[in-house]
């Protein structure tokens, strides 16, 4: 079947289109924010005008939240067992029965102003992985706008490790390329093309034999990562129509990060663990692997938008008319939790990073637009995927606010007629009971997160384990501050056409973390 690659395939925002298409896309950009704001304003108005109905909805919603928590906890727990199982698997043995010598691992490591230590630590971890490193191509991709220092770091690191890997390359992403947004997407797309022309083509490496891992520069791979990818690649029915998604842990500096940063980071991990157990809802996120052939066919990652990590999945899905999926490999990669020299700066960085992640709502107009345009894509699948995405971004933004803040509004504004009802008195009692029961799920979170911790560095006392458990009481707060509010912020920006640029999360390396 031919690929669906219209001229507007890589549309990033409404202003790149003309006429009715532009209006349609603009409407779809408004939709996520409109839904969220309508819900929140609706809850406020209902609290004033019909507090009884608002109270009924909130009680019902609290029960729904409890049951949803149970349902998702089942997913997390199963994935945790699968993750531990996969980490204890001897992947060398597992792939030994497969023929995989023809496969190449192309690793793209884009970065901006990160330190030598950050870049070097990441490449060191690549060098420590199992498997044939001579079948590995490592591309360091600094930004030209970061100056000579970034390029110099790449040269120094490559010089140190070039003998270990089959090929190494420094791809400096030029600044100010027309039509591009400065960010990870444009950088790795450029790096992939440079790798193709400079390494793959010159060494006659077939595109279908190359698996690309697009990492953040702080992504530390566990030793069997590439063998795990190889096994999944070779045992998947259609590897060129499949992306491979590891579980992002934020373990690199978790012992140094403050509690709210740890909770925000690990909550992100848990969400990915849940998604790993329901692959029909899974899109690629952050570090992921994909066939070079598939990438090349769609001209790599989009260069004109923020959420390139998830967009590449939607690109490939629509290009292949719905015949594309994500395989959750339940094997970890480790990245940095947010950490800055001060807690306040860390706090701000988490907010900004989550705002960037939740700006993934920019995929909704893309999905809806191409769902209408691509007639070869099965209708039921388009509807299902669209609803899943819309519901996901809507619930991310509205549920924490309704449950943990607006839910109490009828008590404050419901008036005397409502405030002297049994319902008014029972609203906080019943809702609090359900939410407290839901909080018991946090015990599972505490157990799982503690089991995933890296060894405690010597400069941290044993008592810090207590903080690692107690930190989970912060969840209601982090859900509002680092999930709902940045989600609402990003959706509102999209709604009003105040498009976001790519915000690079600063990487702060403590002295103890340096190699």
């Amino acid at each position: 079947m031919s690929l669906y690659l219209p001229d507007d395939f890589h549309v990033g925002r409404a202003s790149e289109l003309e006429g009715r298409d532009r209006l349609l896309y603009r409407f779809f950009e408004i939709l996520p924010g409109l839904l969220s704001w309508t819900t929140l304003v609706g809850v406020v108005l209902l609290s004033f005008l019909a507090p009884k109905i608002a109270a009924y909805l909130i009680i019902g919603f609290s029960l729904f939240w409890l049951l949803k928590t149970i349902y998702l906890s089942i997913h997390v727990r199963h994935n945790w067992r699968r993750l531990r199982n996969n980490m204890n698997t001897n992947w060398s043995d597992k792939v030994s029965n497969l023929k995989y010598d023809h496969l190449w691992q192309l690793v793209l490591l884009p970065y901006y102003n990160e330190s030598f230590e950050t870049v070097s630590n990441t490449v060191k971890k690549l060098a420590e992985t199992t498997g044939n490193k001579k079948k590995m191509i490592v591309v360091l991709a600094p930004e030209e706008r970061a100056g000579d220092c970034a390029t110099d770091i790449a040269s120094r690191v490559i010089k140190e490790y070039r003998d270990i890997f089959g090929h190494t390359l420094v791809s400096v992403h030029p600044k100010n390329i027309p039509g591009e947004m400065a960010g990870k997407g444009s950088n790795i797309a450029y790096a992939a093309e440079v790798a193709r022309t400079e390494i793959l083509d010159k060494n006659d490496i077939p595109y279908e034999d190359v698996i690309v891992s697009a990492f953040d520069i702080d992504t530390m791979v566990y030793k069997d990562y590439f063998l795990c990818i190889v096994w999944h690649f070779l045992t998947t029915e259609d590897p060129h129509h499949t992306s491979f998604q590891p579980i992002p842990l934020y373990n690199n500096n978790i012992w140094d990060a403050p509690p709210f940063s740890r909770v925000a980071a690990t909550s992100g991990t848990f969400w990915q663990m849940i998604q790993q157990e329901r692959p029909e809802k899974l899109a690629t996120f952050s570090s992921h692997a994909v066939s070079f052939k598939a990438l090349y066919e769609v001209n790599y990652w989009q260069r004109n938008m923020v959420s390139e990590d998830s967009r590449i999945f939607w690109n490939l899905l629509f290009a292949n008319n719905g015949n594309y999926n994500v395989i959750p490999i339940s094997y970890p990669v480790s990245m940095d939790a947010n950490l800055a020299p001060s807690s306040w700066q860390t706090f701000k960085n988490i907010y900004k990073q989550n705002r960037r992640w939740t700006y993934g709502a920019e995929n909704i107009p893309y999905i809806l637009y191409h769902s209408i345009k691509n007639k070869k894509f099965p209708l039921w699948k388009k509807i299902h995927l669209s609803l899943v995405q819309i519901e996901g971004f809507w619930s991310l933004t509205t549920h924490p606010l309704v449950l943990f803040s607006l839910g109490w509004l009828p008590l404050l504004v419901g008036g005397r007629e409502f405030s002297t009802t049994i319902l008014s008195y029972n609203l906080p009692i019943v809702a609090r009971t359900f939410l407290t029961l839901a909080m018991f799920g946090l015990i599972i979170s505490a157990i799982i997160s503690t089991s995933l911790l890296p060894p405690r560095p010597k400069h941290h006392p044993k008592s810090k384990y207590i903080g690692m458990v107690l930190q989970w009481v912060l969840v209601p707060i982090t859900m509002i501050i680092f999930s709902a509010l940045p989600g609402l912020d990003s959706q509102t920006r999209l709604m009003f056409g105040r498009y976001m640029g790519f915000w690079v999360t600063p990487k702060y390396v403590t002295k103890e973390d340096t190699v």
């Binding site: 109270a55 149970i70 005397r416 319902l423």
Partner: protein, 287 residues
Amino acid sequence: MEPLSRKTRIFYLTILIIIFVILVPITLLYSSGYRLGDGFKLVKTGGIYVGLNESNAELFLDGKLVKKVGILKDGFFVQDLTPRVYYVVVKKDGYRKWEKILEVLPKRVSETSAFILPNNIPYTEIIPSSTAYTEALKLFSTSTETQLIKSEYPEILATSTNIGKKIEDVKRKGNIVLWREGNSIYARWVNDNGNAPSYFCRENGVCDKEILINKKPVQFFDFHPKSNELLLFVINDVVVMTEIDPRIPRNIQTLFEAKGVKIRTQGDYIFIKEPTKAGIKIFKYKL
């Protein structure tokens, strides 16, 4: 190890949906005051809320202990009550009891605020030569903080019932106004009906009842420093604390008794001035 199969997930989801469908109506009915009565019939119940000024107290309904509060709670909420009239008593060891007759209506909560005082109030006498004494004495040379100037109260009390009457000593705390008409003291709610205590409200929901507090001549009256539903009076050389709530019985507690006694409040404290042959004594007590 395989991911959760679709079949397993659908199984869990179905179970949870069934639980949700069963629990939602039960929870909503329970929250609204419905309970299972005789013969598994749904009956409507009501509740009582009693606000408290003290911790570690006990609530009795019709003579039966129904609830104790610890140090963290500031009130009793009792539900599952059959709609009828209840005799409500609040007790605490070493304190005077508080009582009220309340009617419980279906699906509604009868609200009230109880105040309990120690049997023997531990007043502190302020040493006459101290600065605190001089400061306390100054309080008695001024009127109370809640007193309104005359230009303010026509707006507050501009209702037909007050036209032509001589209104004096108007005082306001929050949304409740007190005033003197002849020898009588009245109270009224002066904001929108939304947050008014129920005893100010008529059956049509309008909360404009003028509540008669006292008919006898009073030497002094003012609000309790921590509550606008409680009042302090000096009547016939007796300092008393009472409530605006007119539901019977109206609780009146004696605080102090002495000839020529005067009181003032400041912060959370009541200051009591007692003229004696030896001079003026001033006591204070944290309410």
